[in-house]
């Protein structure tokens, strides 16, 4: 039965169902049990924002609190994956990738190729990203383009509770290393989610809204900003097709190109910094493979090339929003031939 639950509950449910289904699935991370070894074990935190709450009580030792030691436990998750487990490691904030990146990009990502196709590393690294929490420069970044750059990794960016559950189950069952990026602002978002386990294949974008005038390619939290913009623009008679990439690696090139071939106009919305991000990647794809379809220059709406600021005024300025997206869409519409 589908019913409305939050993005956070959807993630929790995916973990719980997969742990029930497969004893090889374990969870590890800082405070994922949260309270292991204390008197309050039963009421354990379940993650710094409570995403894994209740799993420790249900699965005991398979939900493992780690010391604050990202290099060791992310590496341990990778090693355990090569040795028969299917670990889901939580890298609390994507910003912390700096202290464990080697284990992700030099080890996990490369094993299969370096070892001649014989290694399987079914590890999932769940991590929180994005601005909007007044969490400043070291807890707010959108670093998924870095992972997207690296062959051997899959990068997943769910925007809705439904996608969060299905993509996480897929990630856990997938035999490659997966970076599963959760936008912290979305945790409280509600949506219809089936109770049963289900999967969503990687590399399949979701067309959130159909339209014939402009293609808006986006991902993560920006899907909701883009949809809001599209709603507003519809009232002005501009029909936007909103594409949620859902995964940046693999990326659903066909859906992007098909749409741009229909609309002839592209706006790409990405919360990440503007250099070498998903917006530039999608723009390059379209410029390379569908240039002749374009009726107007491509516009990118992204965060600026500055660290994420702390003060609310500044952070709000930083984050792309519906108004900026609408402006970009109107701009590409204005260049109609």
């Amino acid at each position: 039965m589908a019913r409305k639950i939050t993005y956070q509950q959807a993630i929790n449910e995916a973990l719980s169902q997969e742990m029930s289904r497969d004893p090889r699935v374990i969870i590890m991370g800082e405070d994922v049990a949260g309270g292991a070894g204390t008197d309050g074990e039963d009421e354990a935190w379940g993650g710094v924002l409570g995403v894994t709450k209740g799993l420790y009580k249900k699965f005991g030792d398979r939900v493992m609190d780690t010391p604050i030691t990202e290099s060791a436990f992310i590496g341990a998750a990778v090693g355990a994956a090569t040795a028969g487990l299917r670990p889901v490691a939580e890298l609390m904030f994507i910003d912390f990738m700096g202290v464990c990146l080697d284990q992700i990009f030099n080890q996990a990502a490369k094993f299969r190729y370096m070892f001649g196709g014989k290694a399987e590393t079914p590890v999932v690294i769940r991590t929180m990203y994005g601005a909007g929490f007044r969490a400043a420069a070291q807890h707010s970044q959108c670093l998924y383009p870095v992972f997207t750059h690296i062959p051997g990794l899959k990068v997943v960016m769910p925007a809705t509770p439904y996608d969060a559950k299905g993509l996480l189950i897929q990630a856990i069952r997938d035999n490659d290393p997966v970076i599963f990026c959760e936008h912290k602002v979305l945790y409280t978002l509600e949506g219809d989610v089936p109770e049963e386990p289900y999967t969503i294949p990687f590399g399949e974008a979701s067309v959130v809204r159909e339209g014939k005038d402009v293609t808006i390619v986006t991902l993560g939290r920006m899907v909701h900003m883009a949809t809001e913009a599209a709603d507003n623009l519809a009232k002005q008679g501009i029909k936007c097709e909103v594409i949620d990439l859902r995964t940046t690696s693999p990326m659903d090139e066909d859906t992007i190109l098909e749409s741009v071939e229909n609309t002839g106009r592209l706006v790409v919305v990405d919360e990440a910094h503007p250099r070498c991000n998903i917006a530039t990647d999608v723009s390059a794809l379209v410029a390379d493979k569908a240039f002749d379809s374009l009726k107007a220059p491509i516009k990118m709406v992204t965060g600026p090339h500055v660290p994420v600021p702390f003060s609310d005024v500044l952070e709000d300025l930083y984050i792309p929003n519906a108004a900026k997206i609408e402006a970009a869409v109107r701009l590409v519409m204005g260049k109609k031939n």
Binding site: M1, A2, Y162, T199
Partner: protein, 371 residues
């Protein structure tokens, strides 16, 4: 205010419909209308269909313009007597708009809701609408669910209890299909009737659901008041095995779309939302195995394993068969040569899903049989 002035409003097709877009008006202002006439086309995320008038009169006012998207219940037009004044109609429109409240975004507490009952260890989702009379039970086909009846159930429920449900392996019911044969599925219908305290019901079955309805009537004739078989399986060996296999094997939007288009005479009816809904269903744990098991038992090797055609004549309850002329899944020619007691209706311009593509006609035929 004249009692002859009636509102024509945006219908609600299925539980999830929140709004619809006025695609085109089929009648102009001033046209006389009988109840059941199709007045305009409305598109939803899931499907397009015609809106029928339940009133008779003259289409005095077109309120909603083509291309406009309006919430369920919104005023589309006004049907009134030829003698009602323009002022009265203006006043009616003003009054309606003043009082109209669009449905809340979260409509979980309003309208009919699906429920779940436990039947011999399986969870079965069902939707009960209407009240009284001998209930009508709607049985969907292979790969379908109770939403296949979204243009039918509410309308048919005006005069009686109508129950639709998801077969095992389908929709939101349990995905265990047991032996995966008609015996197993017929038993589920029997058990659902018991569980819902329905001693006797009219059955309407679509495709594989049609064969289940026949099997039920043969096994328990005392509990079946009538049969409406829509593009039914069970009347001949032929079936489009390519469709069945394609539906099972397809994993993404691009590969399932051509298969789904075979279901309809008008392929454009296959919306992105319909595809997404079917993919979401297919991606539930257990569905793939259930569909394969059913295929292997019921449609092995691209043929129907069980043909009940010869047995129809032995049944004494009223039976009608409704087929879309352009059915690309189960050929409409199987409607030929049935016992004389069976009424046959082959609908033009419809494919394998006449209850959707020609909902008004199908509803009318069912009403007629049920009386």
């Amino acid at each position: 205010m004249s009692e002859s002035i009636k509102a024509l409003t945006m219908p609600k097709w299925g539980l999830s419909m929140k709004e619809g877009k006025v695609a085109s008006w089929l009648m102009q202002e001033g046209t006389s209308i009988s109840p059941g006439n199709e007045v305009l086309e409305v598109e939803t995320e899931k499907i397009s269909s015609a809106v029928e008038s339940s009133e008779g009169g003259v289409l005095r006012r077109i309120v909603a313009q083509e291309g406009e998207t309006l919430p369920v219940g919104a005023l589309l037009g006004v049907i009134a007597g030829a003698n009602d004044t323009s002022e009265a109609i203006d006043a009616f429109v003003a009054e309606f708009q003043k009082n109209y409240v669009p449905p809340a975004d979260d409509d979980h507490d309003s309208g009919p809701k699906t429920q779940v009952i436990e039947v011999k260890g399986r969870a079965i989702r069902y939707l009960r609408q209407g009240d009284g009379g001998t209930p009508l039970i709607l049985i969907h086909g292979f790969g379908g669910d109770l939403n296949n009846w979204l243009f039918n159930q509410e309308s048919l429920a005006a005069k009686r209890t109508v129950i639709s449900f998801d077969l095992p392996g389908h929709g939101q019911s349990s995905k265990q299909v047991g032996n995966a044969n008609f015996g197993e599925l017929t038993q589920v219908v029997y058990d659902v009737m018991d569980a819902l305290s329905v001693p006797k019901a009219h059955l309407a079955g679509h495709s594989m659901g049609g064969a289940i309805a026949i099997d039920m009537a043969l096994a328990h004739p005392g509990r079946v008041a009538s049969l409406t078989l829509i593009a039914p399986a069970g009347l001949g060996p032929e079936i489009n095995g390519g469709y069945i296999d394609g539906f099972i094997e397809a994993t993404g939007r691009r590969d399932i779309k051509p298969h789904l288009e075979q279901l309809f005479a008008n392929a454009e009816l296959v919306s992105r939302q319909m595809i997404n809904d079917i993919l979401a269903y297919k991606r539930l744990d257990g569905v793939d195995a259930a569909l394969r098991a059913l295929r292997d038992k019921i449609f092995p090797g691209g043929k129907q394993a069980t043909v009940l055609r010869e047995k129809l004549g032995s049944l004494s309850m009223p039976i009608q068969v409704i087929w879309g002329e352009g059915d690309a899944i189960v050929p409409a020619k199987q409607a030929q040569g049935l016992p004389a007691s069976v009424k046959v209706h082959v609908l033009k311009g419809a494919g394998h899903m006449p209850q959707m593509e020609a909902a008004a006609e199908v509803n009318k035929l069912i009403e007629a049989q049920l009386g």
